[in-house]
């Protein structure tokens, strides 16, 4: 037998092992860089955001208690209370989910189980297209169309609005924006439900519809909740489009859907580039609150999900 081993050069072997180590290091470095950014972001925002409450802050510390519990946000009088903004943000996001969640779950069910094949393909494309529309375009749409709806709806209900800029407009806008996210995750979750479960239910004499609503949806709930969390994150974090229709009220909280509101992101964005000193730095404090709100609601949903999961099984 003619061995090839004499052709293998020692130097090449050493070299390739050297490259192997080098690339392993490089890959690790890339992973490290990717992971470190979130820490950089958090450190930076927290450092900036904590600043205004420390005694060393130039011009004196802003009382943190007043910041966390205040119900007014007025840069002209240097009053910064974030409590009502948090409430507004949560209300507008929940409002959006209230509209969007059932629609997206039912649409996902329609696409995966009920629609004929051709229709389902078209619907999938529609959902993907909605997901791909840039948020600026939604903002333009909201400022041009949604505010009109709200305005005429308010007129019918006997309210006057600020040109349609309102809590309801924000919620409708966000509902449209989170719809594709939640729907596509629900589709994935429903598709992952094992066939046997469905067949098992049908074999027991359940109708297809019963099976869809009882077996499929409950089995897919973990994925559907994942979509809900993602949707909520997007609803909390959306800035450009929301600030086009929020109206930025100085006091709150806003419960009347036709009244103007102020969300955490619209607060951060409003005149951010025009400002300085405390008024600028305190927006980073708002950034911390935004991250905290996203985190806490995520945990809350996980908790609720576990509870539902347990009571169902």
């Amino acid at each position: 037998m003619d061995s090839k081993h004499h052709l293998i050069s020692e130097a090449y072997q050493r070299r390739k092992k050297g490259w192997d180590k080098f690339f392993k290091g490089l890959f690790w470095l890339a992973g490290f860089i990717s992971a470190i950014f979130i820490i950089l972001i958090i450190v930076f925002i927290v450092r900036k955001g904590i600043g205004p409450f420390l005694p060393s802050y130039p011009g004196g510390a802003y009382p943190i208690g007043k910041f966390l519990t205040g119900f007014q946000w007025r840069q002209d009088s240097a009053i910064y209370g974030v409590a009502f903004i948090v409430i507004n943000t949560i209300i507008s996001a929940l409002g959006a989910l209230l509209i969007s969640f059932p629609i997206s779950v039912l649409t996902a069910l329609f696409i995966t189980k009920i629609a004929p094949r051709s229709l389902s393909r078209i619907m999938t494309t529609i959902v993907e297209l909605l997901a791909a529309i840039p948020s600026v375009v939604y903002g333009v749409f909201a400022a041009g169309v949604i505010v009109r709806w709200v305005d005429s709806l308010a007129a019918m209900a006997g309210f006057s609005t600020y040109g349609g800029n309102s809590l309801l407009a924000v919620s409708i806008l966000l509902a449209i924006m989170v719809f594709p996210t939640m729907t596509s995750l629900a589709i994935v979750a429903i598709n992952a439900v094992p066939r046997e479960l469905v067949e098992g239910s049908l074999a027991l004499g359940a109708t297809t519809t019963q099976t869809n609503f009882r077996v499929v949806l409950t089995s897919a709930k973990s994925g559907i909740f994942a979509g809900l969390i993602l949707g909520l994150g997007r609803a909390f974090g959306e800035a450009t489009a929301v600030s086009m229709v929020a109206g930025n009220s100085m006091i709150g909280p806003t419960f009347n859907p036709f009244n103007i509101t102020r969300t955490l992101t619209s607060t951060m964005l409003a005149g951010l580039k025009e400002t300085q000193g405390l008024d600028y730095d305190i927006r980073f404090s708002v950034g911390i609150i935004l991250m905290a709100v996203i985190l806490v609601t995520n945990l809350g949903i996980h908790f609720v999900k576990d509870r539902i999961g347990r009571s169902m099984s």
Partner: protein, 327 residues
């Protein structure tokens, strides 16, 4: 339990549909104490709650407006139900879309395009003539300040900055461009640019300035007049410009203040007011005013109101006058 879940879904859906489908159901409004009761017929325009629109705290228009109506910043506060807008255009489009709105914009604003109606102030119509004759008192200057001498990116940029300032303050071409864009200027002492250009220190029309970018910063109200002037200057000297305008507060800050070396630094800063005491414009190479503008109180165009007094608008701003009936 499963049945409950699907029932829940159905209920949620129906609620959602009702919200989306523009139904006539009265929503369960829990209006907070601050919000006055809804009125019966808001469409009339003369009745109902007044919606006050204001600009952000760094706006020069706001400062000029508040000063002009006798609003004492230290003693009084703006009504808490005011809506804050982010720029002159934002203000114009928001008030134009709200039949109950009242706000204030620059005289350069296109009132018709924004569905706005300008109001006479103290019986005087906001016109260029009335501003020049000092009859109209709600007015403010458009001010400029440049970077400190020697602090420009290049000598050419410095010379070009000098030339541009001379162009908009002295030359016929520059002043008529500002005038054409709605700025209020006195054209009587203007000289042709060809004459003015010779007096500018360090500026040589034979030099190629096409690689130089003039960066202008500051007030959004100066946008329109400044853009016209920059373009007219481009017709005289080939160069580039970059207008990134965000508010009067940034005018000083980005050429001489804390952001002068930041990401948004500029060569010339503008304010739609006089620079303040803490804005030390004397540090700059050049500073001054290039035109006048009037602040105009505006309402939506279908509003029957056409006159307003200083006292009335003051009371509206501080929240003592809250409905159209009281006017």
């Amino acid at each position: 339990m499963k049945r409950k879940l699907s029932t829940l879904l159905v209920v949620l859906l129906v609620t959602a549909l009702m919200l989306v489908a523009c139904s006539t159901d009265t929503p369960a409004a829990e209006a907070p104490a601050e919000t006055p009761d809804p009125v019966e017929e808001p469409a009339e325009g003369l009745s109902g709650e007044i919606h006050v629109y204001t600009r952000d705290a760094t706006s020069g228009t706001r400062e000029a407006f508040e000063g002009g109506i006798g609003f004492d910043k230290d003693e009084e506060t703006l009504t808490a139900s005011a809506v804050e807008t982010s720029g002159n255009g934002d203000m114009a489009s928001k008030v134009g879309n709200d039949v109950n709105g009242i706000g204030y914009v620059s005289l350069t604003t296109d009132f018709a395009a924004n569905n706005l109606k300008p109001l006479n102030f103290e019986g005087v119509e906001p016109t260029i003539e009335n501003v020049l004759s000092d009859d109209y008192s709600l007015k403010r200057p458009f001010s400029y300040v440049t970077r400190a001498a020697g602090d420009f990116e290049s000598d050419e940029a410095e010379a070009l900055t000098r030339a541009f300032i001379a162009f908009i303050t002295e030359s016929e071409e520059g002043l008529s461009a500002v005038d054409g864009a709605g700025g209020i200027v006195d054209l009587s002492s203007a000289k042709p640019w060809s004459e003015v250009a010779e007096t500018v220190d360090g500026f040589d029309p034979a030099t190629d300035y096409s690689g130089i970018t003039l960066r202008t910063r500051g007030s959004t109200s100066v946008d329109k007049t400044l853009k016209a002037a920059l373009e007219a200057f481009q017709a005289e000297v080939a160069f580039e410009f970059n207008m990134d305008h965000t508010g009067s507060g940034d005018g000083f800050k980005r050429v001489l203040g804390e952001e002068k070396d930041g990401a948004n630094a500029g060569d010339i800063g503008f304010a739609s007011r006089k620079f303040g005491d803490n804005e030390t414009v004397s540090d700059g190479m050049l500073s001054g005013e290039y035109c006048q503008d009037a602040v105009v109180v505006v309402v939506e165009s279908s509003n029957p109101l056409s006159e307003i007094t200083q006292q009335q608008i003051h009371d509206i701003i501080v929240g003592q006058l809250t409905t159209w009936e009281e006017l």
